[in-house]
């Protein structure tokens, strides 16, 4: 092994790991592309206040199935906040790809997949971060997804919520609002709780400063709900797409693994890190290359 280099293990190990990652990337790309979730379903997830409740939503059940098929492990819902969700993978298969890495977080592929799912499939601008990792000594791998607050407000609250806010601002009592919105008592109470969690209402059901702002600019906050079937209605289509992509990635990886191994001579190597330390030498390198191209 190269001194001072990274600890990839052997050449064969590095190539095998890259092959596995390519296969997973193929599956992830196919899955993300075919898994757009209708806003009404994303809203159900956003309105949950407890991990158990969120874990039982169709969206999360779907996510968990996708993660299995992408070979990213068994996803669990760990905690739920209005702008932040935490997910956990107990026996993380990604960690096992980096047997030689210790004391560092390694599951960037899982982190990126969560971010892509939230951004592209749930249409919520979000960022994801791995906050705990088995390879850095933690008991399990844990990932936090931070969602952009404005996007959450746009998606989480629907026309019925806006009507409730309007009626409350007009100082209508609960019975009048229930009658006007044709909601059951339980549903009305559930919606009030959600509005409190989102800091739209205070504990006395009065509009907060955020609530006032939301009401004032409510129309621009409004999210146009697109209606289309949930992706889990036809899992076979996603499965076929993942299988096709994985087979292609595997075939390509097998072909790539048979690429010849070159013996590179030291005299032919330009170490870019060394060259970059000296502007002059880098400029010389560029000028040499450009003149070679002109010839």
């Amino acid at each position: 092994m190269q001194q001072n280099g990274p600890n990839f293990g052997s050449f064969a190990e590095a190539v095998t790991t890259l092959g596995k990652l390519t296969r997973m990337e193929g599956a992830i790309q196919a899955a993300i592309k075919n898994s757009r979730v209708p806003p009404r379903e994303a809203r159900k997830l956003l309105k949950c206040s407890k991990p158990v409740e969120a874990g039982n939503t169709p969206v999360f059940q779907f996510m968990r199935e996708l993660f299995r098929r992408m070979e990213l492990g068994e996803l669990e819902m760990s905690s739920v906040d209005i702008f932040k969700m935490t997910f956990r993978v107990a026996d993380c298969p990604v960690c096992k790809l980096y047997q030689n890495v210790k004391g560092k977080r390694t599951c960037y592929i899982t982190t990126d997949t969560l971010a892509q799912f939230f951004n592209k499939d749930l249409s919520i601008p979000s960022s994801a971060e791995e906050v705990m990792c088995k390879n850095s000594g933690d008991e399990f791998c844990e990932f936090t997804v931070s969602m952009q607050p404005l996007a959450v407000y746009q998606l989480a609250l629907d026309d019925c919520d806006r009507e409730i806010i309007g009626q409350l601002q007009g100082a209508k009592d609960a019975a009048t609002i229930v009658k006007a919105t044709e909601l059951s008592g339980a549903e009305f109470s559930y919606r009030l709780d959600a509005l409190k969690r989102y800091h739209i209402l205070d504990s006395s059901n009065r509009l907060t400063e955020i609530g006032e702002t939301y009401q004032k600019f409510g129309q621009s906050f409004k999210h146009l709900d697109e209606e289309f079937p949930a992706p889990w209605k036809d899992m076979s289509e996603i499965s076929e797409s993942i299988s096709a992509s994985v087979s292609f990635a595997e075939a390509f990886t097998e072909a790539a693994e048979t690429e010849p191994i070159f013996e590179v001579k030291n005299k032919d190597i330009v170490n870019l890190a060394e060259k970059a330390k000296s502007s002059r030498s880098f400029a010389e390198l560029l000028s040499k290359n450009l003149s070679k191209e002109e010839e």
């Binding site: 092994m1 280099g5 390519t22 960037y108 601008p125 390509f252 790539a256 070159f262 870019l272």
Partner: protein, 175 residues
């Protein structure tokens, strides 16, 4: 040194001076090779070595076609390939091995943008050439370090990171 071809790519090598590329090559055709010390890019003639120990980040800078930026101090190498999953796999393979930038220049940049009111994640990510998850981490670090207050102001400690000249310019832009 042994190297195996990983992917056919087009590439650009540019020197990076204080965040702005100041020298550029046109896109060139070549191959991306892996070795036990890192990566090679070759046009079939010269072998440009990118040692993993010198890498500070690998970013996706464009999705279609996929472009990866390998960053080492004072230098950027951008590669573009037809098989997105191959390049993404390479990125995820390398990230745990590389040393991430921790010289504080990122935080200083964040404080500058924050001071003029640019706080949106996507805009900051684009302006700073980082991924949003990195920006989130930087914001948390800046808050923990007392550079940005919880109510979103840049503190005196944060402003102290900037040069006197930068503070004067910022004051001017803030009116």
């Amino acid at each position: 040194m042994k190297a195996q071809k990983y992917e056919d790519v087009q590439y650009i090598i540019s020197q990076d001076g204080d965040g702005e590329p100041n020298l550029n090559l046109v896109w060139k055709d070549g191959g991306l090779f892996i070795s036990l010390s890192g990566l090679f890019i070759s046009d079939g003639d010269t072998w440009y070595e990118l040692p993993v120990k010198d890498l500070v980040n690998v970013n996706v800078i464009n999705e279609e076609p996929l472009q990866l930026r390998f960053k080492i101090p004072a230098l950027d190498v951008v590669v573009m390939g037809k098989r997105a999953e191959r390049l993404l796999a390479l990125r995820h393979f390398l990230l745990p091995y590389i040393k991430r930038e921790k010289d504080g220049s990122g935080i200083k940049g964040l404080v500058k943008f924050w001071a003029v009111g640019i706080m949106e994640l996507d805009i900051l990510a684009r302006l700073m050439g980082e991924e949003e998850s990195e920006i989130v981490q930087m914001i948390e670090e800046a808050k923990k370090g007392g550079l940005i207050s919880e109510d979103g102001r840049v503190t005196e400690k944060g402003l102290a990171l900037l040069s006197a000249n930068e503070r004067t310019v910022l004051k001017g832009s803030l009116g």
